[in-house]
């Protein structure tokens, strides 16, 4: 790990000023991803700005929804009674990710900012456009079983590794951030970016902006939801494909549908047209097949990950069936209840 200086501000404005004054500085909270990257020399900050003493640890009621402070640890969020009762899709997705130790450390804001787990991004001996812009993409034509099938570019086929983010995309959360010029709110679907020709930029947060909270809207989908995660082993592995599905049913028909995918793109993947296709349709397999085909219509494999297209199609149908039946995926025994 490189040497760096350390500062521990006690106010948001001071933290933002610290960041703005030093382009090489990084915020640190849970540290579970940043320290990992520093040990591999992928990140080498000149200064760490410890934000853990900032007053961003509360979960508050707002407009029928909830405002989740950026520093709320993953485990506290997943087990908060308000989240368990009103947003079980979010609780389930969080518990599908990482390990209990990591969930005790990792924060809500940090989850949004975690980097890809592409092996080439981590291996400083290999070209990677995300790590070293212009050096090339080793995953194209290389080891790419974990990589993107949607929204990739010729410069980068990395995936966003978050589980929490897939649920937040489906729930249409908002991200509230603070910068030198004040606060702004970014819709979750616009927070992360596709790689395009700037894969080094994971998201649309400015360098000197700090996440304050993730705001959940009032609609809960607490009755008909599931988070289905498919991976190489039953626990503690990143998704090959994951699906967040949520339905609001009226008389057996779909009044409102939400569908987001993880492990398949540079950002949690949503397709409003696929959600619209489901509206007004009977909550049955034929409808779900149509939505799956729609959301995967631009899918493309890169060799080792070709199987993910068919895996995703089946996972989407199964997830929507679980949601419609009110039998969400268990994150402990992995059986359908």
């Amino acid at each position: 790990m490189n040497r760096f200086s350390y500062v521990r501000p006690d106010a948001v404005a001071a933290a933002v000023r610290e960041r703005a004054s030093d382009p090489g500085a990084r915020f640190i909270a849970g540290g579970t991803n940043l320290l990992d990257l520093m040990k591999y020399d992928v990140e080498a900050p000149s200064r760490l700005i410890d934000i853990t003493r900032l007053p961003l640890r509360d979960i508050q009621e707002i407009d029928g929804g909830l405002r989740i402070g950026a520093l709320v640890p993953n485990s506290d969020l997943a087990y908060d009674p308000r989240i368990e009762e009103r947003y079980p899709l979010l609780a389930s997705a969080i518990l599908a990710g990482a390990s209990p130790q990591l969930r005790n450390m990792a924060t809500t804001g940090g989850n949004l900012l975690q980097r890809t787990r592409c092996v080439y991004f981590y291996d400083t001996a290999t070209p990677c456009n995300k790590r070293t812009p212009g050096s090339g993409c080793s995953a194209i034509g290389g080891i790419n079983r974990q990589h993107a099938i949607l929204g990739a570019s010729e410069h980068c086929i990395a995936t966003n590794p978050s589980d929490m983010g897939v649920a937040l995309a489906a729930l249409r959360a908002n991200v509230r951030v603070a910068g030198p010029d004040g606060e702004r709110t970014i819709p979750f679907s616009e927070f992360h970016r596709l790689p395009g020709d700037e894969p080094q930029r994971d998201n649309n947060l400015a360098a000197d902006e700090l996440i304050l909270s993730v705001d959940l809207p009032a609609e809960h989908f607490a009755a008909n939801y599931t988070y289905l995660k498919l991976r190489e082993r039953l626990s503690y592995a990143f998704a090959l494909v994951s699906v967040a599905a949520a339905l609001r049913l009226e008389d057996g028909k779909i009044a409102e549908a939400r569908l987001a995918l993880g492990g398949v793109a540079h950002k949690p993947w949503r397709d409003e047209e696929a959600e619209e296709l489901l509206r007004g349709q009977p909550a049955e397999r034929a409808s779900f097949e149509q939505a799956a085909l729609r959301i995967l219509s631009g899918a493309r494999g890169f060799g080792e990950n070709d199987f993910k297209i068919e895996l995703a199609r089946r996972a989407i149908v199964r997830a929507l069936e679980q949601a419609a039946a009110g039998t969400p995926q268990s994150q402990s025994d992995k059986r359908v209840q």
């Binding site: 006690d10 040990k39 000149s46 390990s99 209990p100 990591l102």
Partner: protein
């Protein structure tokens, strides 16, 4: 800005490495230490405080051998900077026994032979103590899921689950 006394911006490659004062309570004893900002809790415990029970397996948060309790929550010591813990209370495997009596989880691991080489065992035990404090595991499936952050390359998982279950159910021969 209102920085605390830990503002040490001179420490980045210019002049002597800076050390920052921190107060940690480690296994019940208050320790006043000066640490470099890049020192992980695991390295502090093992290299400076001679508490080598916590193990360095992967050093990347993947194996769980470094698991300790910080303010009663289980965490990976390898991914924790000591300087960030100023004011916190740390419990390692060395701090679990009380008055010469093993912790019930330690007793259960012995009783169920829940290890082979023993390298992952301190982390397994600290993780199990954390799991029991959390109180969310009820079934064996839930024990397995909530112990998934601790790898055992010898494959003693069956006995580890049995040991944790025994303490959870309060059916052990020990206390």
């Amino acid at each position: 800005m209102q920085a605390t006394e830990t503002d040490t911006r001179s420490g980045n490659g210019t002049g002597e490495p800076s050390r920052i004062p921190v107060v940690l309570t480690i296994n019940g004893t208050e320790r006043r230490l000066e640490v470099e900002p890049w020192t992980t809790l695991l390295d502090l415990l093992r290299e400076r405080l001679d508490l080598t029970g916590s193990k360095k397996g992967c050093d990347h948060g993947q194996c769980g051998a470094c698991t300790v309790l910080v303010d009663d929550r289980r965490v990976n010591a390898c991914l924790t900077l000591a300087v960030m813990l100023d004011g916190a209370s740390v419990t390692t495997v060395e701090g679990l026994a009380q008055d010469g009596q093993l912790h019930p989880v330690q007793d259960a691991f012995v009783e169920h032979d829940a290890f082979q080489c023993g390298y992952c065992t301190p982390g397994q035990i600290c993780s199990a103590v954390g799991l029991l404090k959390e109180g969310r595991a009820q079934s064996d499936d839930e024990i397995r899921e909530l112990m998934s952050g601790n790898l055992c390359r010898c494959g003693a998982y069956v006995n580890i689950v049995a040991a944790v279950r025994q303490v959870m159910d309060g059916t052990g021969a020990g206390r």
